[in-house]
């Protein structure tokens, strides 16, 4: 018991330290980029830029700003957005996160619905034409970037067939195509992962014993092999979800969805310092929490990892 608590505490400490490093590096890297938030299409006179810098506290020494920033961060205040005047970074993220979250969750569900059966099926039919075909398709799915699949899905399912809207969020079905794009991409990974671990399990002695005892083949596959075969996929879900939520920039752009991914990129191009820091922090927390949870679950499942 003490071991477990010690392990959890140490993993938690590591996560907090990693977060601090990420926040710090992001803060200083953002400031190193040439240009600034107040440059505009038409030139802004020097005296006004100076005043804007004063208004937002950018005239103070960088270290002081960093200290102030950390102080605010601890209280959960991510600061004002410089590119969306009148909105705080908290508000921007509060609007964008649910969109990315829905996309991510639906994408994950689609990935599982497609990926797991395909993986099981391919494993059951290993080294046959079916297996090779499925795995080739999966490989293609991994290799084809989302910025190819997304417009293709839009062109076919929205513009040609008219089943979905091709863009936008409100009153629009375009998000489904977004989730489908993400889902297809991840389903290919999940299919390969499932196939691999199912093959591991299927070649073990207890499966052979089951067959020898005359258990129905389907029952062997689903009752005996599936549980063991699916474990690595479950472990993969955490990082996959974080990746899905954080990695939906392309999908959001192609389908015009107001998620966090777009802010992530736009903040950088606008030099919206607080929004850069805010989005990076949110994604970092997401990834760290997911990994932390997975580690805890794995440690609980397999005591051997605790010692490492």
């Amino acid at each position: 018991m003490m071991d477990t608590i010690r392990y959890i505490l140490s993993r938690f400490g590591q996560s907090v330290f990693a977060l601090l490093c990420i926040v710090t590096i992001t803060f200083f890297l953002a400031r190193l980029a040439p240009g600034g938030p107040f440059l505009d299409d038409k030139a802004v006179p020097e005296h006004l830029i100076e005043q804007m810098n004063r208004n937002y506290g950018f005239d103070k020494p960088l270290v002081v700003q960093y200290g102030l920033y950390l102080g605010r961060l601890v209280t959960g205040d991510l600061g004002p957005s410089l590119g969306n005047k009148g909105f705080t970074v908290n508000e921007v993220i509060a609007e964008g996160f649910p969109v990315s979250f829905i996309l991510g969750i639906c994408g994950l569900v689609i990935a599982l619905i497609i990926g797991v059966p395909v993986g099981v099926f391919a494993a059951a039919k290993r080294n046959t034409a079916v297996d090779y075909t499925l795995m080739t398709i999966a490989m293609l799915g991994i290799c084809l970037p989302t910025f190819v699949i997304a417009p293709l899905l839009g062109e076919i399912f929205a513009l040609k067939l008219g089943w979905f809207d091709v863009a936008m969020w409100e009153d629009s079905s375009a998000w489904f195509l977004g989730a489908l794009t993400l889902g297809l991409y991840y389903s290919a990974y999940i299919a390969r992962l499932t196939r691999g671990s199912m093959l591991d399990v299927l070649s073990q002695d207890f499966i052979r014993t089951a067959h020898a005892k005359g258990v129905a083949p389907l029952k062997v596959l689903f009752k005996h092999a599936f549980r063991g075969g699916i474990t690595p996929v479950v472990a993969y879900l955490g990082p996959a979800l974080a990746g899905l939520i954080g990695g939906s920039f392309v999908v959001e752009t192609v389908f015009g969805l107001p998620g966090l991914g777009q802010h992530f990129i736009k903040a950088a191009t606008n030099r919206d310092y607080w929004l850069i820091n805010g989005t990076v922090t949110v994604f970092a927390v997401l990834i760290l929490v997911m990994n932390f949870l997975v580690d805890i679950v794995q440690a609980w499942l397999d005591p051997r990892t605790r010692g490492k």
Binding site: G36, D40, L48, G86, E170, S203, L221, F255
Partner: protein, 563 residues
């Protein structure tokens, strides 16, 4: 060892295969059902036309909905729906002016003092009357040094506005704007400005509602909640009802607007889709009445099928290259001339940009207001080679390496490649590099003048050549070429004192011919606006500045009855 297992597994899965087949069939049926039903479904555009809600693509997310904080065209497009200035845009021509909050206006003999007589039925969207004091307050706000409005220099027409904005004088009463009473506003200007009514149509001259501003902060606070839906108060034909970042901005008819019975639309939805391909698809998918832009490489496709939705219109903008006149090789005027005359503008607009742009023989685009730039810059290889020799180069091979910088975009890159090729073929210059820079990096590089040749564009703020020529005065913050010419500056100053338009234009043309002779900038083409517009949109006319007054726009489908 494995094969028996494989056999049983295969056999075992047979029933499932059958099940899968059924499922596929079921799916197909469903799909076909959906497909047929979708044919008769009313599209988003159909519904919006019926409900008279105009659906517009708007490029990117606006920086703000505060007229004093914005400077981009897309932001101005939204503000024009919800605010109204002293003078309003005419739906048919940018050179004409419509009464806005001011019913009429008059100038003194030399156009240096303007009097605006405000209508007494103008209302804010909360019902408060719009008065001359609101305008004085607004101009105080945008010019206040603490507020630091990015585009406050647009108000430097007012006497003492510049020193006040720079903090050199602190008393706003010295700035040339006064409310004589609730409904009379007097603007005293730095110099005669016959086109002043055109200037006050710009977003920077729009009023804000004092009680709302001060309810959420001080006058000079830039970061308050007043712009949010529910808080936002404006005086235009429409008012803000919904704003979701990156998703939409919705404005609906303002019942308090003085001319509300004549407003035809019930509202507008702006969609900030910054991916141009997505926007074009949204149009094709019947989600938009209008796209902000259309990607260059899709234009030929629309042209090939003679699509009536494709609009190509002249636009008051110039695409050009800045030359850094403070360092070799571009400090040499003959060298710059050689560059200017070896750009084949015709080929670029015909084969590269393909959007019906006009080769720019001058800097200021010819306008319907009657100004014509001197006809100087044309592709002329012989002349170019002559100038290269004059610049001291026996051949192009002797020219030291220099770089064209661009902000990253395929369109800019294609043009740069064409120009690079022209310089190589005509002048024999081998060592021209093209460098992409990310937008903000590019802006900083230009401001710091750490470039040789830099791609640029300039869009007019109002219909007058000064909006184009003013930036090349020595020390202007948009100049960034290091070029300064005493005669040029003098001619511009002198033109400002002339109240007779033709005389003034002649003076400005004289100044422009100096600019085109010394070519600190290499004109390439004059812009067009190429975009998609649905046929349901009525009374949307080609406008030079592209500032469409939404109150005149209507939506209905031809062949369908309207009320």
């Amino acid at each position: 060892m494995i094969s028996p297992l494989r056999d049983t597994a295969r056999k075992g899965l047979d029933p499932q295969q059958g099940y899968l087949r059924d499922l596929t069939l079921l799916g197909l049926c469903l799909v076909m059902g959906l497909g047929t039903s979708s044919c008769n479904r009313e599209t988003k555009v159909d519904i919006a036309t019926r409900e008279k809600i105009l659906l517009l693509g708007n490029g990117g997310e606006p920086k703000a909905l505060d007229p004093h904080l914005v400077s981009s065209v897309g932001d101005a497009n939204i503000l024009r729906a919800i605010f109204e200035g002293l003078v309003a845009y005419d739906p048919g021509a940018d050179t004409k002016n419509e009464p806005g909050v001011a019913e009429r206006w008059e100038a003194n003999d030399d156009f240096s003092e303007w009097r605006f007589f405000l209508r007494n039925d103008a209302r804010w969207s909360n019902g408060d009357p719009v008065t001359a004091h609101d305008f004085v307050y607004s101009y105080n706000r945008i010019l206040h040094p603490d507020f630091a409005a990015p585009y406050s220099s647009m108000l430097y027409f007012l006497k003492n506005a510049e020193p006040f904005n720079k903090g050199e004088i602190e008393d706003f009463s010295q700035v040339g704007v006064k409310a004589v009473n609730d409904f009379e506003l007097v603007c005293t200007l730095e110099s005669p400005t016959p086109f002043f009514p055109d200037v006050v149509k710009h977003t920077t001259w729009l009023p804000v509602h004092r009680p709302t501003i001060e309810k959420f902060g001080t006058m000079t606070a830039t970061f308050t909640d007043w712009q949010k839906p529910g808080n936002h108060v404006s005086n235009g034909a429409f008012r803000l009802t919904d704003w979701r970042i990156n998703a939409h901005i919705k404005v609906r008819k303002n019942p308090h607007y003085w001319d509300a019975p004549n407003v035809k639309l019930n509202g507008l939805n702006f969609y900030p889709i910054d991916n141009t391909f997505t926007e074009e698809k949204a149009f094709r998918g019947n989600l938009l009445h209008y796209t902000y832009i259309i990607p260059n490489n899709l234009i030929p496709r629309y042209e090939a099928k003679n699509d009536p939705n494709l609009r190509t219109e002249t636009y008051a903008g110039t695409y050009f290259y800045r030359c850094n006149t403070t360092q070799a090789p571009t400090d040499n005027v003959d060298f710059r001339r050689a560059l200017a005359y070896s750009i084949n503008q015709e080929t670029i607009v015909k084969y590269v940009t393909q959007g019906g742009q006009e080769p720019a023989y001058g800097f200021t685009p010819p306008s319907e207001a009657g100004y014509h730039p001197p006809d100087v810059i044309h592709y002329d290889p012989d002349k170019a080679i002559e100038f290269l020799k004059k610049a001291g180069y026996e051949s192009g091979a002797d020219v030291p390496e220099f770089t064209i910088i661009l902000n990253t975009s395929d369109a800019h890159k294609d043009i740069a490649v064409a120009i690079q090729d022209g310089w190589k073929k005509v002048l024999g210059i081998e060592k021209v590099k093209i460098e992409n820079q990310e937008w903000k990096v590019y802006q900083q590089t230009v401001i710091d003048m750490k470039y040789d040749v830099a791609r640029a564009g300039w869009i007019g703020d109002y219909v007058d050549p000064t909006t184009f020529l003013g930036i090349w005065r020595g020390g202007d913050s948009n100049n960034n070429t290091g070029w300064e010419n005493a005669d040029y500056d003098r001619l511009l100053r002198e033109s400002a004192l002339l109240s007779e338009t033709n005389e003034r234009y002649a003076k400005l043309a004289e100044a422009e011919s100096i600019l085109l002779d010394e070519v600190p900038v290499l004109p390439i083409y004059w812009y067009t606006r190429v975009y998609l517009l649905h046929e349901d949109v009525k009374n949307w006319n080609p406008l030079l500045l592209d500032n469409h007054p939404y109150k005149h726009i209507d939506l209905h489908r031809d062949g369908e009855e309207t009320e």
